[in-house]
């Protein structure tokens, strides 16, 4: 095949599939990510717990999901776990979102744990010395500070998940990559559909990178709001 004779019109004919693919990829990634943040927060706090019956299950979960390939997790959940529990498949979307949430939670848990542990011990001591309970100190003092430090790694995790979501193609979820496979299978042309898939992922991840950079710039480095900084004595 001559690569200089690209037939973009073939891809164009399948544009509806690609558009649907973008939608599926975004739905999978966003649900997986925000579900993973919620579950990950509990797991991360669990791994910081001094109670063994909370610590060990959290640690086991995190090790299990970080230590096995996501592809294996997707297949196990879709073909074994869900059919066993419900008696039949619940469709690729349920399986895909479940797998992404469970996997993403394990990575986010480590981000939360590291973020919380990175806050100097003196902050917790100062809060407790005023009479705050452990939970009050977490809520008012530790988490607001830890959150800022978590922004960059949480952004990375979103990008990683966006790309990893392409693995759900194996259970025939019609995401971006799936559209390319269909086009390739029907036309026996490979350059065009896979380049389009690559470009679509690139545009999405680049967009996310920009958003994360914007959030990071607003929250990182300094706690002093920009307006106050200009007025304050240490205006930079």
């Amino acid at each position: 095949m001559d690569i200089f004779d690209l037939r973009w019109d073939i891809v164009w004919n399948y544009r509806d599939m690609f558009i649907r693919g973008i939608g599926v990829t975004l739905i999978l990634t966003l649900s997986g990510y925000f579900g993973g943040i919620l579950l990950g927060l509990f797991l991360g706090l669990g791994k910081l717990s001094s109670k063994k019956w909370i610590y060990w299950p959290s640690k086991l979960y995190i090790d299990l999901f970080r230590g096995t390939p996501m592809l294996v997790q997707i297949l196990l959940i879709h073909l074994a776990v869900i059919p066993t529990i419900f008696g039949h498949s619940l469709g690729y979307m349920v399986s895909g979102i479940t797998a992404l949430i469970l996997n993403c939670a394990a990575y986010n848990a480590e981000i939360f744990r590291a973020g919380i542990q990175s806050i100097a011990k003196g902050q917790m001591e100062a809060a407790r010395s005023l009479g705050l309970t452990h939970n009050q100190a977490m809520r008012k003092v530790i988490l607001p500070q830890a959150f800022r430090r978590m922004i960059p790694p949480l952004g990375n995790e979103f990008i990683a998940l966006l790309k990893d979501s392409s693995l759900v193609t194996v259970i025939a979820a019609p995401d971006i990559l799936y559209a390319s496979k269909v086009v390739a299978g029907a036309s026996f042309r490979f350059w065009e559909p896979y380049i389009v898939a690559a470009l679509l992922y690139l545009v999405l991840t680049y967009g996310v990178t920009k958003i994360v950079a914007f959030i990071e710039k607003r929250f990182s480095n300094s706690y002093v709001p920009r307006k106050a900084k200009v007025e304050g004595r240490e205006a930079r």
Partner: protein, 240 residues
């Protein structure tokens, strides 16, 4: 007011406090001096249970604080603490640093808490910085805010853990002046310090600790003017 009986503290197998007995009266300013590693900071941190007590008993107004039945949060609300590294909350403005605990714990309204906060900031000479963030302040200013933060809970006593050790020399005085005023107002204070001048001038009692023991204790005149123990003499010989 604060009574310590046979206090022992281990870090793992290392015994840091080897049986401390001491009593602090209301309105007293007790300065604790001694070489680093002598256990003086650990002793101070045991008084509000930032360090778990291995053995012995600590009573604050006749309540045994290292009793599992005692609500330690209630005790800590009554005993302020000022740290060497200030430990202000960097994500809050100065005024929020001061008002947070009264609002959270004493359920004070924001209006009342802020009125109290401004009053205390005036007292430490920093009301003009109320809406700045800690990182915009110098070390000495931060430590004065930390004192205002401790005062906001209206504590019965304040523990100072080397409050001027992390400061540039020219800022030590402004913090010590605030502490002197507190002492003059009758605040009960326990101060771990290397500032011998402060201990001599402001302290009602001076405690010399070494190797996990209280070696010697007395009025500043006695302890600085006529130390009894050889270890006290050797230490004072080096620092004075």
């Amino acid at each position: 007011m604060i009574k310590i009986e046979n206090l022992h503290k281990y870090f793992g197998k290392l015994e840091v406090l080897k049986g401390i007995d001491y009593e602090i009266q209301e309105k007293q300013v007790v300065c604790v001096i001694g070489p680093s590693g002598s256990g003086k900071s650990t002793f101070l941190r045991c008084i509000n249970m930032l360090e778990e007590v291995t053995d012995g008993a600590i009573y604050i107004e006749n309540v045994k604080i290292n009793d599992p039945k005692t609500n330690i949060n209630e005790i800590r609300a009554e005993v302020g603490m000022v740290f060497q590294q200030f430990n202000l909350f960097p994500h809050m403005t100065v005024i929020d640093n001061v008002t947070m605990a009264p609002m959270q714990i004493r359920k004070m309204s924001r209006t009342d808490a802020e009125a109290l906060g401004h009053e205390l900031l005036k007292k430490v000479g920093l009301d003009s910085k109320a809406y700045n963030y800690p990182e915009q302040l110098s070390g000495g200013q931060q430590q004065r805010v930390a004192i205002a933060r401790a005062l906001a809970m209206k504590p019965k006593a304040i523990l100072f853990d080397e409050p001027t050790s992390a400061l540039d020399p020219e800022m030590v005085k402004e913090v010590l002046d605030v502490m002197k005023n507190l002492a003059a107002e009758g605040m009960t204070m326990v101060v771990v310090t290397h500032e011998m001048g402060f201990a001599r001038e402001v302290g009602d009692r001076v405690v010399f600790m070494d190797g996990g023991y209280i070696v010697e204790e007395g009025s500043p005149e006695e302890l600085f003017g006529n130390p009894q123990s050889d270890r006290t003499k050797a230490f004072l010989g080096k620092v004075l």
